[in-house]
């Protein structure tokens, strides 16, 4: 079937099989930041935005994204660098395989709730698994980023 969608602002028109998953479509279109960590919608590695909402691209048919706007980390490089630097300064990126999904969802959180409490951060990001860091370094990085933003009067 013929679909049309916008990947990181770029229009893509293509004939796809009915069961093509968004993750596979995105990877085939060069969005290699999108990772698969499980097949059961549990790990959060494949998080992308569809119409600016974070979703699991492993659990979505690309057919359902017809006419919609999809954003991956490739389309958010500046934000990823700004925020990611704070994760890097903790050494919390570790193996990095969960990073794209985690950073995507963190960006979604900053947009939805620019001043989250620790508990809100943990709740919002609970669907992003990480086996390396124990999460504490990620939390420190997020908090450091938020205070930096606050001190510099920036809006997340």
């Amino acid at each position: 079937m013929q679909i049309k969608l916008w990947i990181n602002g770029k229009m893509v028109t293509e004939d796809v099989a009915a069961d093509t998953l968004l993750i596979d479509f995105l990877r085939a279109h060069g969005c290699l930041s999108v990772k698969r960590g499980c097949e059961t919608s549990n790990c959060g590695l494949c998080t992308v935005f569809v119409e600016d909402k974070p979703v699991l691209s492993c659990s979505m048919l690309v057919a359902r994204v017809n006419g919609k706007k999809v954003t991956t980390l490739e389309g958010l490089q500046e934000e990823a660098e700004d925020f990611g630097a704070f994760i890097a300064d903790q050494g919390a990126e570790q193996c990095g395989f969960c990073n794209p999904g985690f950073i995507m969802n963190a960006i979604a959180m900053f947009r939805e709730n620019p001043d989250p409490s620790d508990e809100e951060i943990k709740q919002y990001l609970a669907g992003n698994l990480c086996r390396c860091s124990g999460y504490e370094g990620q939390l420190r990085g997020i908090k450091a980023y938020l205070s930096f933003k606050k001190e510099n009067g920036g809006v997340c």
Partner: protein, 762 residues
């Protein structure tokens, strides 16, 4: 401590920004998609013989390139364990075998142009199985009439006591002093049996390998592995081809934790490429990673501790039964740590110990290497037993440890008679007590709302590389303009060893971390390294880096001396320049680099190898505070204090995150991570939906500090950190749960159900 400039600093990882911005750096990102898709048909039975296998119909699926069965593979057995040759793990595998030994064992390999075609073909392979009785309970495996490996060409290369006709992968007993006599003299004996289960490493990137033929007709393997050189040997063994025909490289790795110290996927696409000449890729699903890999060895550990009324621990007797599953990967070696790393912790007053073990084959998923490598299991048992002893003696569990813990300078009979050359375990305990306020906290407080707050403690040790075995190497090269290239074969699997080793090089060469580029892990060009496991990289490879850099400095000074027409002794190396001691003349590093490329006969490149005759243990103390819900059994982690002695901390950020990450894995192991089987040997926890690892809501607050000793045999005084950090949560949490409920849980994981039922059943 020495005044370091680059070492002992929170340096950002060299690859950090690439990782946080999602750059395509992993195996599946950097290898072409235009290759054969490889999948494995897995056995549905725990024990069976293939009577007939018909692949003709499956081969007819359009796009199918090849299907291989046991009839097509070489008949020489090998092990997939990434260990130094001759491997202690028995040679008990074939790429595909007619006998299937666990649910998940390989039945056939299918290679085709698309995933859909391969999936279709998998369904069309017709197999007639003769289903055999399996050995599923590891307690009944030894001398069972059902043999997991009855084959005649089974072989143990090392004298580990293995006997395939008894389902024995290894057996041994060692003794020091007269255990029975000393035990008889003790006032109190605590004797209990502890049971730890298989746990999945559960790194986020599943197992995956890409293989292709290079322009010279050699097999080039690109994969997510911790052990490029061992992979080369294992594949040469498996395919029965010369090692010169194989090149192994690794890109970034999405986590390993020991899982990728075993060749889980490599053999399949390698065989396909070797047979077809075509590039091939196998990406294990999470399900395959859960059912057909090599998780932690399940162990049952019987501990006897003999002590005096004042808490003096005089004798220990440990027996471990370890379940290696269907194959023997890491079976003979993991088990040793269960005794060695637990008994040695209590060296101070110990007069006698006995440590015996059996490692048995069963028809469940093969076990392998997972962070902690047997020490984790042994320490859960030993630390629990010590807590039980303290409770029996009504002693403070911290005091009994302070009285008996191994001290710096002691010889450790249970640790190959090695001297405890650097040990700040006592300071770790003191600091942990302060941070935790241990002395002012009751073991348990009933909060009156159905909840009890309680505390627990445990200690741990590990090793730093395998003494006399592990080899670490580094090549350091001066380049144009004066930057350096550091070439290594240790595998940075997210741990940051590329950066840590670069920090060491920068410290030696008195330069900035950015002046060192790191190139890693290519079996054709990297200097030999055993690989990243056994907590060896910082300690062993780090020392090689240090040595290589010192030698390079000498060489550069030699060139400098020639250029300045003076003797080397007159020169001082100062990083960016080399000066005469009297300050009269100097030459820049750039000049030397330029000279090295023009009319030069002195190579500005040094390779150094290192191997250590000792393996100095890192130490740590963990203290936990939890809240137990008496009515639901829920255990909430409130606070975890960890104080670690890993010698000099090379990278303060990365060591801290290693610790936090290890604690989280340990918490999962303590409370819910489990591998269980149904009555016919099929794993229930075959996905992240069923195998739950901690989320960020499950881990509580962790506070990590370091109390460093200085290890003279290590680079800049460093020991290791990677593994020890997983060892304290299980016993500390079990202790806290006892303090809350009065029930000792001697089997992991301690689920809410076990907690409540324990209380209800008194």
């Amino acid at each position: 401590m020495a005044d370091f400039k680059v070492v002992n600093k929170p340096i950002r990882k060299k690859d950090a920004m690439a990782l946080v911005t999602g750059k395509p750096v992993y195996t599946d990102d950097v290898t072409p998609t235009d290759c054969l898709v490889v999948k494995v048909l897995h056995s549905p039975y725990a024990h069976a013989m293939i009577k007939e296998i018909d692949v003709e119909l499956a081969k007819k699926v359009p796009g199918i390139e090849a299907i291989f069965t046991y009839k097509d593979v070489p008949g020489k057995r090998f092990t997939m364990a990434g260990q130094t040759y001759p491997e202690p793990s028995p040679y008990d595998r074939l790429i595909l075998d007619q006998r299937l030994r666990y649910v998940g064992d390989g039945v056939a390999i299918v290679a085709g142009e698309t995933e859909k075609a391969v999936d279709k073909a998998l369904k069309l392979i017709k197999v007639n199985y003769e289903v055999l009785e399996p050995v599923l309970d590891f307690r009944t495996a030894k001398d069972n009439k059902v043999l997991v490996h009855p084959e005649e060409n089974w072989e143990a290369l090392c004298p580990v006591g293995a006997d395939n006709k008894r389902n024995l992968c290894a057996t041994d007993t060692s003794e020091y002093g007269d255990v029975d006599r000393v035990m008889a003299e003790c006032d109190v004996i605590v004797e209990n049996t502890y049971h730890t289960k298989a746990n999945q490493q559960a790194m986020m990137e599943t197992f995956r390998t890409y293989t292709t033929l290079d322009p010279y007709g050699r097999l080039h393997v690109i994969g997510s592995t911790q052990i490029i050189f061992h992979v080369r040997r294992i594949l040469a063994n498996a395919l029965d081809i010369p090692k010169s025909k194989i090149r192994v490289t690794k890109p970034r790795i999405g986590g390993g934790f020991g899982a990728k110290q075993t060749c889980v996927t490599e053999i399949f696409p390698a065989f396909v490429t070797w047979k077809t000449g075509k590039a091939a890729k196998l990406i294990y699903t999470r399900e395959e990673s859960q059912i057909a890999s090599t998780p932690r060895h399940e162990m049952e550990i019987k501990v006897r501790v003999g002590a005096m009324k004042d808490g003096t621990i005089r004798a220990m007797d440990v027996y471990t039964l370890s379940n290696t599953g269907a194959y023997g990967e890491h079976g003979p070696t993991t088990v040793g740590l269960s005794g060695q790393k637990s008994i040695s912790l209590y060296n101070n007053n110990l007069e006698a110990y006995r440590f015996g073990y059996d490692v048995v084959y069963t028809n469940v998923q093969s076990a392998g290497a997972y962070r902690g490598y047997g020490a984790t299991q042994g320490i859960f048992a030993m630390e629990s037993a010590i807590n039980e002893l303290a409770s029996k003696l009504s002693m403070d569990p911290v005091k009994i440890r302070e009285k008996n813990m191994v001290k710096e300078g002691q010889i450790m009979p249970s640790y190959h008679d090695e001297p405890n050359s650097s040990c700040a375990l006592d300071r770790c305990m003191t600091r942990a007590k302060e941070m935790f306020d241990w002395d002012n906290k009751p073991l348990a407080v009933d909060l009156g709302n159905g909840k009890i707050r309680s505390i627990g403690v445990a200690m741990a040790m590990q090793s730093s590389g395998i003494s006399g075995v592990d080899v670490g190497s580094a090549t350091i090269k001066l380049n144009d303009e004066g930057f350096y290239a550091l070439s290594i074969a240790a595998a940075d699997m997210g741990t940051g060893c590329d950066t840590i080793l670069a920090q060491m090089a920068a410290e030696c060469l008195e330069c900035d971390i950015d002046d060192i580029i790191v190139y890693g892990a290519d079996s054709d060009s990297s200097p030999y390294d055993s690989g990243s496991y056994a907590s060896s990289t910082t300690y062993v490879t780090g020392k090689a880096v240090e040595r290589a850099c010192l030698q390079l400095k000498e060489k550069m000074c030699k060139i400098g001396a020639e250029m300045l027409s003076c003797s080397v002794e007159d020169l001082v190396f100062q990083g960016k320049k080399i000066s005469k001691a009297d300050g009269s003349e100097e030459i820049t590093l750039m000049d030397i680099a330029t000279k090295s490329m023009c009319g030069n006969t002195e190579a500005t490149q040094v390779t150094a190898s290192h191997s250590s005759t000792v393996s100095p243990p890192p130490f740590m103390v963990g203290m936990v505070e939890i809240e137990v819900d008496k009515e639901t059994g829920a255990v909430e982690l409130l606070d975890y204090v960890a104080v670690v002695d890993c010698g000099t901390v090379i990278n303060t950020n990365l060591a801290r995150v290693q610790t936090e990450g290890g604690l989280a894995q340990g918490i999962g192991m303590a409370l819910y991570e489990d591998v269980t089987y149904n009555s016919v040997g099929k794993i229930y926890e075959n996905s992240f939906m069923q195998y739950k690892i901690p989320t960020r809501l499950d881990v509580g607050k962790m506070r990590v500090e370091f109390e460093s000793s200085y290890e003279r045999t290590g680079p800049f005084g460093a020991k290791s950190i990677g593994e020890i950090v997983i060892n304290t949560p299980s016993p500390a949490i079990a202790h806290a749960i006892y303090n809350a409920t009065g029930v000792w849980h001697r089997e992991l994981p301690i689920t809410p159900e076990k907690v409540v039922m324990g209380i209800l059943k008194g």
